[in-house]
Symmetry: C2
Subunit: 219 residues, 2 copies
């Protein structure tokens, strides 16, 4: 007498989204209610559908990414459990997703068994933590102890810093960026210095690499 588990998938790659849905639908207990290309799409479709038990949520998406979507779900439908689904074992996204309210985290190159395990544990225990996550959590705690917190989960970037960071990922000079942001060159210089310290980098290239690794910009 297993109740059917209702699932929703949010990922910007259509083939992946549909493929995963097809994969999941093989199991009689699981039913994919609907899938969406991004957070906005998900929210829009939510009104026209039954509430899912679990959302498989991609992190890097246009329009509205995984972090924002996860926060929204936590606020508006706390009963929905989010299983973050990411392509990168990138250092920072795990903790950040968990802070945003995700109940589990799984890599896209996991196999079907692991996905099933994650979903069932999510339903039974309410969360799914594998060694990958625990390891990252431990790391982040150590880093907190060292007061050298490097993980973006604990790095709060304000809007100006994010806007600047995005513009830094271009061939614009800081001067041009200043004009574009309606700020003085010196203010921009301040943003740069701030970010160097916060992100623990020492050059503009470091900023760019950080931004790309952490999905601040999409290529």
């Amino acid at each position: 007498m297993n109740k059917t588990i209702h699932i929703s998938i949010v990922d910007d790659h259509t083939l992946f989204r549909n493929g995963l849905a097809s994969l999941i639908s093989v199991f009689p207990d699981y039913q994919v209610l609907f899938s969406a290309a991004n957070g906005l799409d998900f929210i829009a479709q939510l009104n026209q559908n039954q509430l899912p038990d679990i959302v498989l949520l991609d992190i890097n998406m246009p329009e509205m990414d995984g972090y924002a979507t996860c926060e929204w779900i936590k606020q508006n439908h706390p009963s929905i459990k989010v299983l973050a689904l990411s392509t990168m074992d990138a250092d920072n996204s795990i903790i950040k997703m968990i802070k945003c309210g995700a109940k589990g985290y799984i890599l896209k190159d996991a196999d079907l068994t692991e996905l099933k395990l994650a979903i069932t544990e999510l339903m039974q225990l309410g969360f799914f933590y594998n060694e990958l996550i625990s390891r990252k959590v431990m790391q982040s705690i150590n880093l907190l102890m060292d007061d050298k917190s490097e993980l973006s989960a604990f790095i709060k970037l304000n809007e100006n810093e994010i806007a600047f960071l995005k513009l830094a990922c271009s061939e614009k000079t800081y001067q041009e960026i200043a004009v574009e942001m309606f700020k003085s060159e010196k203010t921009i210089d301040g943003y740069r210095a701030d970010l160097f310290k916060k992100l623990n980098v020492t050059s503009r290239v470091g900023l760019v690499m950080y931004a790309i690794k952490n999905g601040v910009i999409t290529l």
Copy 2:
């Protein structure tokens, strides 16, 4: 009396690979023979399986990427048709894949209809060119005419340039890079200038962005 089309999938993301297989298997005419995580894996499995008609081939993979795999297939099993499958509408990979022998190119956020269309056209016509590709091909031809070829398909980077490009994607100064490459600073300066012209960028950030977009480095 449609003959079954035998397909193989090569992609490093397990969930995507399996999902796609599941999606394709819905159609009775299509059969997924086997799937592999990268080029080496594919070659290894090829010996133990029937020869596929079509290989859905991802571009960015560890161990042996899409370009190398495609070349290998063209050399060793020219009857197999490669449908390149990429996540990025990145400018350069299309032409490059086609030069490597791919018979078609499709984005991962295509929908199932488009995938089916690509596969059937591939079987019937031997190739699949959609507007995305034609547009890119036209561009590259124009660029050739202008003698300002911008597409990496026509950009030949030698080993030094590639080594330098990789090192440029770091916080090292050109001076440090020179030491690491056992070259004078001025030689490095020459590499930089060469690449600026070849890749049509104007700053080190441009180099980094190019390298990442085109898989010269992996994050």
